[in-house]
């Protein structure tokens, strides 16, 4: 079951904050977050493995709410380099621990 990401697109000015949500209709045991710049491979940001877990590095962090079956990615004081499409991957699904990716959230940061 594909996770649902919201919003579909975000346009920011440098220095502004953004939140990207990832929701699943099924119980979650892990959430991956990736950023993909146009024409490039997805780059791993972080993985959350336990409900309630929070992680972060630099000014990008994420939380995992097991009860709500959702995860949120927080981008604080966004930089131009944050522009790209953010994908969440959730698992398990149908007995598989391979994450299923959402359709992505496009983030554009303007100067």
């Amino acid at each position: 079951q594909q996770p649902v990401q919201s919003p579909q697109a975000v346009i920011l000015r440098e220095g502004e904050d953004a939140v990207i949500n990832c929701s699943s209709s099924k119980a979650l045991y892990s959430v991956h977050w990736y950023r993909q710049k146009h024409g490039e491979a997805p780059v791993f940001l972080m993985i959350l493995l336990k409900g309630g877990e929070q992680k972060g590095h630099d000014k990008i962090s994420a939380s995992f709410n097991e009860k709500k079956q959702q995860s949120s990615l927080y981008l604080t004081a966004s930089q131009l380099s944050y522009s790209g499409t953010y994908f969440c991957g959730t698992g398990p699904s149908g007995g598989s621990y391979i994450p299923t990716f959402g359709r992505g959230t496009s983030l554009i940061v303007h100067p």
Binding site: Q2, S30, H32, Y34, Q36, E40, A41, P42, V43, F44, L45, M46, I47, L49, F87, S96, Y97, I98, P99, T100, F101, G102, R103, G104
Partner: protein, 113 residues
Amino acid sequence: EPEVTQTPSHQVTQMGQEVILRCVPISNHLYFYWYRQILGQKVEFLVSFYNNEISEKSEIFDDQFSVERPDGSNFTLKIRSTKLEDSAMYFCASRLQGSEGYTFGSGTRLTVV
């Protein structure tokens, strides 16, 4: 920093032809994957490979697809008889453990004409 290497970066092939996409995963990684991404769409799982055999595959990975790890370093995806709808970016990925994130290669853009 170690990386996953894919070749070629772009391949154009005629419908019905066989193609082999090549990947060199990170040397100490144990799990290997192929994903594809049709232009503008989400990343879709094709197949996972562990301990020299397929561990999982998706509905997309039908009899036209096969994977091999022929020599302990290369990991290949073969499409026997390409169709127009096989046109996509194909990503190879690897990870050390199942609990970690993927390291993706830079992809092979396959165009079937």
